[in-house]
Symmetry: C2
Subunit: 402 residues, 2 copies
C-alpha cells in the first residue's frame, strides 16, 4: 500500500462517506442539523407592496398637472405599519403612510414627509418630487417570489434559517441522520475518566480531547472503556462496539513506530478492508482508514497533537459528509504569520496547530503554544524550511476566532 | 426614565448578572462550561528532560579532548521515545536517542545523527558539534513548572483545555451553573410550533430564532406556549414561569409604538423593577430590562431583526456573565465594507445584521440579505449617513465566519 497525500486521503475518505438516511423533525429541533432537501418559499416577499419611507401615498398624476410647480392633494386617511387592508386612493387624494405600511390600491409612489407641505387637510407636493424615479415602494414579491429556494439541501440549519422557514409556514424540516460515533482509546497506562488513578496510570487525554471535539461539532460519541496494548483485548473491544452498529469508529494509539502495529493487525484479523495506512504528512504519518463491514474506521496514532490535526483534517470532514454537509472540508484561508517559524522534515507536508486572530481587520496567525486553544491548522508544503513574521500562509480555520 | 445608550445598557445589565453558583463536574462533561476556579499544573512540563532530535546522547567532554578535530565515543545503548528509565552515560560512551526520548543522566547534549560518523561500536563526533550552543535537550520543567496556572477562571472549556487538564491528572472540574432561561412570545396571531396553523395565524418566528440562538450559545431554554396580546393572559403566563424559578426570562412583542405597551404594564403590575425601557439604538429602541424578584427580564420587541440584534448585544452577554465568562461582550473588530451602505435615522446608533467573510486574509463585511446567516453586527455611531465600499467599519462578531 502506498503512502497518500493529505488531499488524496480526504478524497478517499469522502468517497466512502455519502450522506446517511434522512428523517423529519419539528422545526424547533432542527438547529444544527443538515437539510436533506431544498425548501422553497411559500409566499412572495414582501407579501404586499409596502412603503419604504414615512410619507404620503400618492396616486398617478396627469402630464398636465405636472406642468405646474406643485400639485395639491386632499388628505383622506392614514396607514400604519401592520395595517393589512388599506383600501384605495381616490383621484386627487393622498394618505399618510408609515414605513412598512401596505401601499393602497391606485398608489403610484410614496413622497417622504420632508418633501411635502401640509396645511390642514391639504397636502402640497412639488412636481419635482412627483417626477422622481425612486417611488419608495417595495413591491410585493420584489425581494423573492413564491417557489424560490429559501434554504438549500446540504445547509446546516442556523437560527436565521429556522426563522425564515417559520415565516414561510414550515413547521417540520427534512434532515439527515447524524452518524453514531464510537471512540476507543488504546494504551496500557490508560484509565477510564472518573476511575481511580494508580501510579503510572493516567486518564486518556485523547478521550477527553476527542469527545469534546465531537460534541463541539454536534455529533457527540459513545466512549468505550480504554483497553491495554494487547491484540486480544483490542479485538474483543472492537467486536463489542460493532454490535452497537456504529457508523464510525475512531481509535487512538497502537499505530506507528516504536510500538507493535496492533491496531492494523487486529483490523486485518477482523476482516477489515484497509484503505490507507500511512500519510505523507507530519505529524500523523502513522494512521489508518478502512472499513469493517459498513463501519468507517479511523485509527489515529497516540500523541494528542497528531490526533487533533487528523481529527480536523479527516475525521470531522467524514462526519460532516455523512450528515450531508455540502462543504465538508475545513474553510481554507490566507493569513499573515505573526511570528517566524522553522520547519523540520522537508519534502513532506507539515501541519501545525495554530491560533488565528483578527488585528485591524487582518487575519494573523501563529503556531499554538501548549496552553492555547487551537482554532487553525497551518499547512506547509514542505518545500520551504523557514517562514518569517509577515509572510502570508495558508491555513484551515477549525474553530471560532480568539 | 431616560433612554440609555447601548453601552450604558450593557453595563447596567452586566451589573445585575454576577456569576451563578458553581458545581463540580467530571472532566469529560466539562466541554463548553466555564471554569469557576483557576487550575494549576500538577507536574513540570516536560516531566523529564528529553531529546529534540534523533541523535546521540553525549556526556561532558574535557577541554583537552575538544582541542582535537573530533572525539571518538563507544556506543553502549539505545533510548526510544517513551522509555521512562534510561540509566546513565559512562565516561567516553554515547547512546542512540530518539526525539522525545528521556535524556540519560550525565548527558550534556544530543548531537544529531547527520553530524556524526558511526563505525560499528564507535561513533566519531566533530569537536565543532560538541562546542555548539544548542544542546537539543528540552529540560524538565522548561516549558512550565509545577503550580503555574494552566487554565484560568472564566475560561470556557474547550477540548484543548480538557486535554491539558487530563494530562495534569484532573478528573473533575469546578464550573459555574448554567442559567435557566424561559422564553415567552406574545402576539395574538402566534401558534405553538407543531400546532395546527389556521388562516391568519403563524408559528412564532421569534420562538425558533431565539431557541436556536440559545442552543447555539450552549444555554438552551424552556419555551412557554405563546400568549395573545392581552394583559391578563400575559400576566398569568409570566406568573406560571416565575414558579419554575428561572434565572432569566425573555419575552418578545408587546413593546413599542403601534401596540399597547402591554409587557411594561404587566411587568409593573407584577411588582417588577424597570431598569431601562428605551434605548438610543435603531432598530431596537422599544425594549425593557428589569427584575422580577431575582429574575432578570428582557422584554424584546416583535420584529425579528431587532430581536436578533438585541439578543446578541444584551441577552447573550448577560447569559455569558451569569455563567462566569471573563469576557461576556461580543468580540469587537474592524473590517472593510464590501458594498456601500446608506443609513437612515441619524443621531442615534444604527445596528445592522451583517455577513463577515475572509478574503485574502482580510475581513470584509456587508449588510445581510434576508436569506443570509448573520454572523456579525455592524455598529454605526449615527454621525455619518453614507459609507462606501472599501471604508473600514467596526463590528461585533457573533457567529463563525462564512
Amino acid at each position: 500500500m502506498t503512502e497518500l497525500s493529505l488531499r488524496d486521503a480526504q478524497r478517499l475518505v469522502l468517497a466512502h462517506c455519502a450522506p446517511l438516511s434522512s428523517t423529519t423533525l419539528p422545526l424547533q429541533y432542527g438547529y444544527g442539523r443538515v437539510l436533506a432537501a431544498s425548501l422553497k418559499s411559500t409566499r412572495p416577499k414582501p407579501s404586499y407592496s409596502q412603503s419604504t419611507r414615512d410619507g404620503f401615498a400618492v396616486p398617478g398624476v396627469s402630464a398636465a398637472e405636472l406642468r405646474d410647480r406643485a400639485v395639491t392633494f386632499r388628505l383622506t386617511g392614514e396607514i400604519a405599519a401592520g395595517t393589512l387592508e388599506s383600501g384605495a386612493l381616490a383621484p386627487g387624494c393622498v394618505m399618510r403612510i408609515m414605513t412598512g405600511g401596505m401601499v393602497p390600491r391606485r398608489c403610484e409612489r410614496v413622497v417622504p414627509f420632508e418633501d411635502c407641505h401640509e396645511e390642514g387637510e391639504r397636502v402640497v407636493i412639488p412636481a419635482s418630487a412627483l417626477r422622481r424615479q425612486q417611488t419608495f415602494i417595495r413591491k410585493k414579491g420584489s425581494v423573492m417570489g413564491r417557489g424560490r429556494v429559501l434554504v438549500s439541501r446540504g445547509t446546516r440549519l442556523q437560527p436565521d434559517h429556522s426563522l425564515l422557514l417559520a415565516e414561510n409556514g414550515y413547521h417540520e424540516v427534512p434532515v439527515y441522520r447524524r452518524p453514531r460515533v464510537w471512540l476507543l482509546c488504546t494504551g496500557s497506562e490508560l484509565v477510564k475518566p472518573g476511575g481511580e488513578i494508580l501510579p503510572g496510570q493516567k486518564i486518556s487525554g485523547n478521550s477527553v480531547l476527542l469527545s469534546g471535539l465531537l460534541e463541539a461539532d454536534g455529533t457527540g460519541c459513545e466512549v468505550a472503556d480504554p483497553v491495554p496494548d494487547e491484540a486480544g483485548a483490542i479485538g474483543s473491544a472492537i467486536r463489542g462496539i460493532l454490535q452497537q452498529e456504529p457508523d464510525v469508529l475512531v481509535t487512538t494509539g497502537g499505530m506507528g513506530p516504536g510500538k507493535f502495529d496492533l491496531i492494523e493487525q487486529v483490523f486485518q484479523e477482523l476482516g477489515g478492508q484497509v484503505l490507507y495506512n500511512s500519510l505523507r504528512v507530519r505529524p500523523g504519518k502513522a494512521t489508518l482508514f478502512g472499513l469493517l463491514g459498513r463501519v468507517r474506521c479511523f485509527a489515529l496514532p497516540g500523541p494528542p497533537p497528531a490526533v487533533r490535526l487528523l481529527y480536523h483534517e479527516l475525521v470531522a470532514p467524514a462526519l460532516r459528509s455523512l450528515q450531508g454537509f455540502s462543504r465538508p472540508l475545513p474553510l481554507r484561508v490566507r493569513a499573515w504569520l505573526s511570528e517566524s517559524l522553522c520547519l523540520r522534515g522537508q519534502g513532506v507536508m507539515n501541519m501545525k496547530g495554530a491560533v488565528a486572530t483578527l488585528q485591524d481587520g487582518r487575519l494573523v496567525v501563529r503556531q499554538a503554544g501548549f496552553q492555547d486553544r487551537v482554532n487553525a491548522i497551518l499547512l506547509f508544503s514542505g518545500r520551504k524550511k523557514t517562514y518569517r513574521a509577515g509572510d502570508t500562509v495558508s491555513l484551515h480555520l477549525v474553530g471560532p476566532l480568539a
